[in-house]
Amino acid sequence: MGAVVGTLTMQTKQSRPSKDKVDDELEMTMVCHRPEGLDQLEAQTNFSKQELQVLYRGFKNECPSGVVNEETFKHIYAQFFPHGDASTYAHYLFNAFDTTNNGSIKFEEFVMGLSTLLRGTVREKLEWTFHLYDINRDGYINKEEMTEIVRAIYDMMGKYTYPALKGDVPKQHVDAFFQKMDKNKDGIVTLEEFITACQEDENMMRSMQLFENVM
């Protein structure tokens, strides 16, 4: 009889955790965000009305609640890089877009980021990149931050690469980067050093033009 009672109690215990998860999900979907008006956004960004419309339709379709949280963002980004693990880099990218640091990207932040990347001046683009690399937002890029970013990028390549990733390839990459960027060899890269070094590199400037017709 004890065995019967035991099995009956075991059945009830399993049902409880699933209920909590359902409640959590219910809460999340209640959050809804509406962006500012189309005119305001057009004034603040470099996009035309049509472009904003297309962007918003896509955004709203993917995220009906109007915000992207980090998990969704990582998931989306991982779809583009199926070879490796894109979650770390997606995390840094998420932080770069999330200018208000509240853990979710609203449509305005999304569109501002895109506007800088696609329609901004060279200086604005470089500033954005600098903020991407500067993980702790202290205004300087040190070797640790750079190593983390580079490691995250190499993670996206996955395991099966040619030539194979042996040795500490990210570290060497970072060393090469610092050699180029760090003019006064003080171990950190400031915004001005970064911008100056990038503007000196003609190939990079040329490559920057390539991404303008993405939209």
Binding site: A3, Q172, L210
Partner: protein, 633 residues
């Protein structure tokens, strides 16, 4: 790839700006997108019901009818719309799939009609969302089973035998499907009749008959008419033996037949007779012989060949075996507990029936099932108390859980089935995701192999490249940018493991020189690796293992004209691409793999599966401008 992701692709590409400062090489040029950027609205007329949607919505899934150029076949110039002569109700669901990315199955629709619509519009049913997947699968399986039953029934009765089947096959078929021929039917009924006769004879021969004249004792009929019964038994056994031997002869797989349940029952049914024949008329042995006659009752199981219901019952019991076993186990526990208690309670009493714990088992069972025969009763007060507790708990233990357990059986059974189904679906889902992932990774590698990384004019692009959607072009461009940033290329698992294997092969340590190009590519990272790769690429596997490697350090600049000559034998298609494309922008040195005198790359290289993979990469790298690969031996 989930096509909702297509909306995020421009964002991912824009974010690639973040790689630019880190990139060691220049970024490749993005694919030229000739399509107009502005979004237009499409009209789709399905049997009179007009749907309107954005073109971008349909373009999300380029491998379906509506997302590809196949819909142009249905374009009506006069009305400026796409006309489909299909079910408008179903089309609603299909269009919703494009809009939301999830395909839902309408429960009121026929599953076959739905499948046909999906097939027409080029949508695979596997992408049905989780919410509707179970329903879809269930309905589909039900439908299939129903169809299978129908076809089976048809086949069994109507389909004539192939004309050149052997008599053995015909015999087997006659046994399995008695309705096929009259002879089989006759045999079927005859065996059925004899089974019934045999069973009834077994029963009747134990009934007491009137004693013969001159004796007062009642005799069982078996002994009075022993000859008659013996003749009947012989006849039955003869028929059964004949049937068994015929089946054995006709069976397509004799071992399998002999292991099947029905044949075991057959053997058990006829064995006692033969053993009885063989055994001598000995007093001691005849007791055992009598026991054997019990097995004759198994003949009743032979009816299961004639009755579908019995077979289903047997199958159900077999499938519920674990639940029944658990019930038995818990009952056994209760019985042991109470029997022990009763034994020790009644131990002191004189002349008690509770002589041992196993003897008390009988009392416990009889009391718990509330039978109460009364052949064993406790005498002591403690015994009576525990006896009453035993009977009360018996009511609880047996009467109460039985309906609970019965409903549990059906619930657990269905739950298990559902869990298994979901696990199988999950496995299928994961496999599909893995396949899709592999598909995207392989797509990029295929893209590279097809020479998609070159910048060509529109006319001269290979046909295979033209068929790729702009989404694919842009996505591959993004992956290419990542390759350039990290100065490593994507390969597949096979080639990677091949490379790892060759590294474990012994290599000769040789002077390694590091060469750097104008781009400042650091070679210190893997000179040895590059060397071994060079060995691999240049030689065949055999020569590598033999270690016949020469030391070379050469730096050759390959111009566009020289390139194809060394590789022309390998792939004519890429050569043709190469000749067509004109802008080659060599700003860096391109090193070709130096060849030891033993083999030259012009010879046909061994077609082992691993090498082409590696060769593919090296080939593509020689064709892309600004790739630097150092090889030093």
């Amino acid at each position: 790839m989930a096509a909702g992701v297509a909306t995020w692709l421009p964002f991912a590409r824009a974010a690639a700006v973040g790689w630019l400062p880190l990139a060691k090489q220049n970024m490749p040029k993005p694919p030229v997108d000739k399509k107009t950027r502005s979004d237009e609205m499409l009209f789709v007329n399905v049997s009179g019901l007009r749907f309107q949607t954005w073109k971008n919505t349909l373009d999300r899934y380029p491998d379906t009818l509506l997302g590809s150029s196949e819909k142009e076949f249905f374009y009506n110039e006069d009305t400026q719309e796409y006309f489909f002569d299909r079910d408008p109700e179903m089309f609603r669901h299909i269009l919703n799939f494009y809009r939301t990315g999830k395909l839902h199955y309408p429960r009121h629709e026929c599953i076959q009609a739905f499948d046909e619509e999906l097939a027409f519009f080029g949508i695979v049913p596997e992408i049905i969302g989780d919410c509707c997947m179970e329903e879809y699968r269930d309905r589909k399986k039900e439908n299939q089973e129903r169809l299978a039953e129908d076809t089976e029934a048809e086949m069994a009765t109507d389909t004539p035998l192939p004309p050149n089947s052997t008599s053995r096959e015909r015999l087997w078929r006659a046994f399995e499907n008695p309705h096929t021929s009259t002879m089989a039917l006759v045999f079927y009924y005859v065996t059925g009749f004899f089974i019934a006769v045999s069973v009834i004879a077994n029963i009747v021969e134990t009934v007491p008959c009137r004693p013969p004249k001159g004796s007062k004792k009642d005799l069982p009929c078996g002994e009075k008419y022993s000859l008659a019964f013996f003749c009947m038994d012989t006849a039955c056994v003869l028929i059964f033996t004949f049937e068994y031997l015929m089946r054995l002869f006709a069976a397509p797989s004799r071992c399998k037949f002999m292991r099947s349940v029905m044949s075991v029952i057959d053997v058990v049914a006829i064995m006692p007779y033969y053993i009885g024949l063989v055994m001598p008329e000995n007093e001691d042995v005849s007791g055992a012989f009598v026991t054997l006659r019990v097995f004759r009752v198994f003949r009743i199981f032979k009816f299961s060949r004639h009755s579908q219901g019995l077979r289903i019952l047997g199958y159900t019991l077999k499938s519920c075996a674990s639940e029944l076993g658990f019930l038995l186990f818990s009952l056994t526990m209760a019985i042991i507990i109470f029997a022990t208690v009763m034994f020790y309670a009644e131990k002191g009493t004189k002349g008690t029936n509770f002589t041992s714990i196993p003897a008390a088992f009988w009392y416990t069972i009889v009391t718990m099932t509330t039978l109460g025969y009364g052949d064993m009763v406790p005498n002591t007060i403690a015994g009576k108390i525990f006896g009453s507790i035993c009977s009360l708990s018996g009511v609880l233990v047996i009467a109460l859980p039985v309906p609970v357990i019965v409903s549990n059986f059906s619930r657990i059974y269905h739950q298990n089935q559902r869990a298994d189904k979901m696990r199988a679906q999950q496995k299928v889902r994961l496999a599909r995701i893995r396949l899709a992932k592999k598909g995207t990774t392989n797509a990029f590698l295929q893209y590279k192999e097809d020479g998609g990384l070159q910048i060509c004019d529109g006319d001269s692009t290979a046909v295979c490249l033209k068929n790729r959607s702009s989404f694919e072009h842009q996505h591959h461009h993004l992956l290419h940018c990542l390759e350039k940033t990290t100065n490593h290329e994507f390969t597949d698992e096979m080639t990677y493991s091949e490379m790892c294997m060759t590294e474990s092969v012994g290599y000769r340590t040789s002077r390694s020189t590091s060469l750097s190009s104008q781009q400042g590519v650091s070679t210190s990272c893997c000179p040895r690796r590059a060397k071994r790769r060079a060995i691999r690429l240049a030689n065949s596997t055999v020569s590598v293992s033999r270690g016949s490697v020469q030391e070379l350090d050469t730096l050759q600049v390959q111009k566009s004209s020289a390139g194809p000559q060394s590789r022309s034998s390998l792939n004519a298609r890429t050569e043709e691409l190469k000749l067509n494309c004109e802008d080659r922008d060599f700003t860096a040195a391109i090193i070709s793999i130096p060849t030891p005198p033993a083999n030259t790359p012009d010879e046909s290289l061994p077609s082992s599966p691993a090498i082409p993979g590696i060769l593919r990469n090296s080939r593509s790298s020689t064709y892309t401008h600004e790739t630097v690969k150092i090889s030093s031996l």
